[in-house]
């Protein structure tokens, strides 16, 4: 038990500070470029309405990116994040049945579904010790199958109070912006908590964390549950945006969230980075598609251009990221 007296993962802290700095610079630079380019091409982005509607469309991706970030920092990966969003949104739509009075129940249902999905992922990865990549790819299949069961075809009505709240502004600041800021602040407040420190330690070096008496399995489990809950919220954001349910929305979100995490300077090997980087990453990616939209690309070319932008962003972050030392 001498290992227990060792300081909590000191070497990874040093290594973290050093590498975060490099990656954050690249992320910040990309963010500035994306914002400037988007505004230059589409000046009405700066109007209150422009900001509100832009952030409203960004919100699902931003939330899923934060969810993905927590899992990745914990040394895992969640390819089922998109499917969780789809499942929790259709569950919420069916539960609320378009009635305002049931909006709170819908919120609980969405988050509850996300937590349940996260628990399954967490159990599979931490207790069964399956490789996260393939295991969550498989669980994505389970979740999207269930989403089809809950809502076979796109449809359903979202209560007006939900779509309304989503479009509201408090003291001229749009709700969607407030929500993004709230998520970022939430992370800043909570990051010093034991659970999140344990998650980071686990992702940085599971063996060292284990030796320092960090409950590695529990931390992995917690990272997936937390991530599932946030993905559930993203499901609600999707509903607020679209006004109806769709069991097929998940696919792009898994890719988008992973890309946002990478662009946001979070190392896929775990332990390094912050969900705030992922928020920036998500905004960069979403802005790039806004830019593609505004330069008048034909509709059929947009998906290709968006895909190429993701690859380029990945390549740029890969070049800017610190090299693996081993």
């Amino acid at each position: 038990m001498t290992a227990a007296t060792q300081a909590p993962p000191a070497p990874t802290v040093v290594d973290r500070v050093r590498s975060v700095r490099v990656a954050s610079w690249a992320t910040a630079a990309l963010l500035v470029v994306a914002v400037v380019a988007a505004i230059a091409l589409q000046p009405n982005l700066l109007t209150p309405y422009g900001v509100a509607s832009t952030f409203a469309t960004f919100l699902p991706l931003v939330l899923v990116a934060v969810a993905q970030a927590i899992v990745v920092i914990g040394g895992g990966l969640d390819l089922s994040a998109g499917a969780i969003v789809a499942l929790s949104s259709v569950v919420a739509v069916q539960v609320m049945r378009g009635e305002d009075g049931l909006a709170a129940v819908g919120l609980a249902a969405a988050v509850g579904t996300g937590v349940a999905c996260g628990m399954l992922n967490g159990l599979v990865v931490s207790r069964l010790r399956l490789q996260p990549l393939i295991a969550t790819f498989a669980s994505a299949s389970i979740f999207s199958g269930l989403a089809l069961l809950v809502l076979p075809t796109p449809g359903g009505t979202v209560p007006a109070i939900l779509t309304g709240t989503f479009r509201q502004a408090i003291a001229t600041v749009p709700m969607s912006v407030l929500l993004v800021v709230a998520v970022a602040l939430g992370w800043l407040v909570l990051r010093r908590t034991r659970v999140l420190r344990h998650i980071r330690a686990t992702g940085g070096d599971p063996a060292a964390a284990y030796a320092s008496l960090v409950p590695v399995q529990t931390s992995q489990f917690a990272s997936y549950v937390l991530s599932g809950a946030i993905s559930g919220l993203a499901g609600l954001a999707v509903l607020g945006n679209a006004g109806s349910g769709d069991p097929f929305i998940g696919g792009d979100l898994a890719l988008g969230s992973v890309a946002a995490v990478v662009v946001g300077g979070i190392a896929l090997r775990g332990g390094i980075g912050s969900p705030i980087g992922a928020i920036a990453g998500a905004i960069i990616l979403a802005l790039s598609s806004t830019i593609l939209f505004s330069i008048g690309l034909p509709t059929s070319w947009r998906a290709l251009a968006a895909g190429v932008v993701v690859i380029l962003a990945l390549a740029l972050s890969a070049l800017g990221a610190p090299r693996r030392r081993r």
């Binding site: 990966l77 390819l79 599979v124 069964l128 010790r129 399956l130 490789q131 990549l133 393939i134 295991a135 790819f137 498989a138 669980s139 994505a140 299949s141 389970i142 979740f143 999207s144 199958g145 269930l146 989403a147 089809l148 069961l149 076979p152 599971p206 063996a207 284990y210 590695v216 792009d252 898994a254 890719l255 992973v258 890309a259 990478v262 896929l268 509709t299 059929s300 070319w301 947009r302 998906a303 290709l304 251009a305 968006a306 895909g307 190429v308 993701v310 690859i311 990945l314 390549a315 890969a318 070049l319 090299r323």
Partner: protein
């Protein structure tokens, strides 16, 4: 499991037994399920997945967290390019197939270069490529799929011309045999296993690690396109998402076949049997009138269950 005869611990044997068991169960529940005709039919459907799984096997064997999440869309793109070129004309089969393979090779090359030169992790690179290829499909088709398979291709897949068997089974057998030979008996095969086991050791022994890795991803895209082309021979018409859903099964087939997801251990025979197991399972579920959602769920559950048997990672401390 640990006390039985060694041969029963071989994943390939286990998978083959599972396939036989599934067919037997189907035969009991629905008479006719296990008839020779029906079995040939299932093998025919398994061949598309089996051909795609060849590439997935090679990529997984190459190690370094190797995986190709773009095979499904690449297969779809291959099918679209080939069938649009053929447009129902036998004379255009060769150009169609060559075009599909050429484009697929470029996609695989991009995957491989992104992975070795830019050091983007394989799953991120191929996931990103999935988006790009999906976009490419929209550009090529303008959102409307209108290709038609040539009659000769259709009869290769749907006819029973070779010894009463569909020609595609022979094609699958030849491809599978060739790949097994390449893996076991050639320098490329030896190098592939070497880099899959340890990149560092392979590099120090003079193996051109980067070149072999890139080749693995090029081969993966090539076989994916071939699988897609075979599939369009089966469906005759092409769809915008024809083979998109085959990515997960292709990985599942590799895992069922006992190839280590960490790389370096395994072979194609197992993946072929894995493709058969998955296809038999799907047709069994279809025969039992399971709705689509249940089939999707079962696929995921099966993969997790199989991983739990074969693919568990080691404990932090034993």
């Amino acid at each position: 499991m640990s006390r039985v005869v060694p041969i029963l611990k071989d994943p390939v044997v286990v998978a083959a037994l599972i396939a036989v068991l599934l067919i037997a169960i189907g035969g009991i529940l629905r008479p006719g399920f296990a008839s020779p005709d029906q079995i040939v039919d299932m093998l025919r459907v398994a061949s598309f997945l089996g051909i795609i799984a060849i590439g997935q096997t090679i990529v997984v064997l190459s190690g370094g967290e190797g995986i190709d999440l773009s095979v499904g869309t690449v297969a779809t793109l291959g099918a679209i390019l080939a069938s649009r070129t053929m447009a129902g004309d036998d004379a255009m089969i060769v150009p169609g197939v060559l075009l599909a393979l050429g484009v697929a090779a470029l996609i695989g090359l991009a995957n491989g270069l992104g992975i070795v030169a830019l050091k983007i992790p394989p799953f991120v690179m191929t996931l990103g490529m999935l988006g790009v290829v999906g976009g490419l499909i929209l550009v090529v088709t303008g959102g409307r799929a209108d290709g038609r398979a040539a009659p000769a291709l259709v009869s290769l897949v749907n006819g029973r011309d070779v010894l009463g068997l569909p020609g595609i089974l022979i094609v699958w057998l030849v491809l599978g045999g060739a790949v097994t030979l390449v893996l076991r008996r050639t320098v490329f095969g030896a190098r592939l296993y070497a880099i899959g086991t340890s990149r560092e050791a392979a590099r120090l022994s003079g193996v051109p690690v980067r070149r072999v890795t890139v080749s693995a991803y090029v081969l993966s895209s090539l076989f994916a396109a071939l699988g897609g082309i075979a599939m369009v021979g089966y469906s005759q018409q092409v769809f915008l998402n024809l083979a998109d859903d085959l990515t997960l099964p292709s990985i599942a087939a590799v895992v069922i076949g006992g190839t280590l997801v960490a790389g370096g251990v395994g072979g194609y025979l197992g993946s072929a049997v894995g493709a058969i197991v998955l296809t038999v399972l799907t047709s069994l579920l279809t025969t039992l009138a399971m709705p689509e959602w249940a089939r999707i769920v079962v696929q995921g559950v099966v993969l997790i269950a199989l991983l739990a048997v074969y693919g568990r990672q080691r404990r932090l401390r034993a």
